[in-house]
Subunit: 216 residues, 2 copies
């Protein structure tokens, strides 16, 4: 795929050597992150809210209740900045200054449009369920008309987007490598614990494979 042409806004300024504009890298980071953080100016003030997203090709879908003020502002044309961050490890350098984290992040900027077409709205909501738990959408009851009417879905084109990635060991000042201080990376990852069945779960409903084998 063609990499993104960095725009004035998505050009990574700090640490440009960490910037990535490849579409498949950006897509993979968006898909791996369970939630994103949506920034938007609402009533003249900046708000940043966590929410679940879903990517379908070059489109990012966000959803919420029709009363959601951030989504309503987005629907009404407010600019968005959507950021996802995956934390891969803690980077312990010999100097406090060079401590860092290994991470993969994506920033998407742009304006969203409300999804009014019912077929696309259903597709988007199915994509959200699949984004969180791949395989789940075939089992879950589909949204009914009232639920669909109560849900606002917006589509943000993934056009102005950039990723930033740090990986690997710490980078210390040359004169600090002789210090007798442990240095390295402590990898972090998301793990699941034992699934907790709903107390009201019907008898003899087995645990699905997509839950038992879940990995992010």
């Amino acid at each position: 795929m063609m990499p993104f042409e960095p725009s004035e806004r998505t050009t990574v300024r700090r640490r440009p050597e960490r910037a990535v504009y490849e579409r498949d890298v950006i897509a993979a980071i968006l898909d791996e992150a369970v939630v994103c953080h949506v920034g938007c100016v609402v009533d003249g003030r900046v708000v940043v809210l966590p929410t679940i997203h879903a990517r379908v090709e070059d489109r990012l879908y966000l959803h919420g209740a029709v009363g959601n003020r951030t989504l309503r502002a987005a629907r009404d044309g407010a600019e968005l900045c959507v950021t996802v961050t995956l934390l891969d490890g803690l980077v312990l350098a010999r100097s406090a200054f060079h401590h860092s984290v290994n991470y993969r992040s994506v920033v998407i900027m742009g304006r969203a449009m409300e999804v009014r077409d019912e077929a696309e709205k259903r597709l988007a909501l199915r994509a959200v369920v699949e984004h969180v738990v791949p395989g789940r959408s075939v089992d879950a009851r589909e949204p009914n008309e009232a639920e669909l009417a109560g849900t606002l879905v917006v589509r943000l084109p993934i056009d102005e987007a950039s990723a930033k990635v740090r990986s690997g060991p710490p980078v210390d000042d040359e004169e600090d490598y002789g210090l007798p201080v442990w240095a390295g990376v402590l990898p972090l990852m998301i793990r699941t614990a034992e699934p907790i069945a709903d107390p009201r779960l019907m008898a003899r409903v087995p645990l699905p494979a997509y839950v038992a084998g879940y990995a992010r």
Copy 2:
């Protein structure tokens, strides 16, 4: 401690039953999250960037290179919205509509001030290291004058703040409880993997206990 008085801006509007304004709950969420997402209007446009924070009492410290545009905007008086999110589990309901996540999030709004006092600046940077790896600051080489001069630190008062927490099993529509669909919570947590020593680590430097026993 006194809970926060929710302001016009920090009053949780969606799902107010999930809102928490207790200072110790807010502090615990801020301390557990490795990174926050800082929203700010920079050159007329909203940006959301992940960064490492540190809380000291009722103050949140953010830091970065002196050239960091978001931090410079913050220093120059731009309003900030700082959000942290801890993901505790995936909530699988019988209906697609009631799928959710269990989470704990905090939103802080306000204006930051640059930390110019050297003692407070050093305290803030030490707090950042301790925030990421408790115990580390005694081993890491302290910032020198050049590093200190190259770092911009801002202090955001934790005044206008609110938390939002969802926990527990899915909540389905009454008529859906009879569906033969598995429902429950898949807990998520951050885990460490085996520490990776820096290839240039000096011989006979032992792995510190704060790395070996690290838990978030």
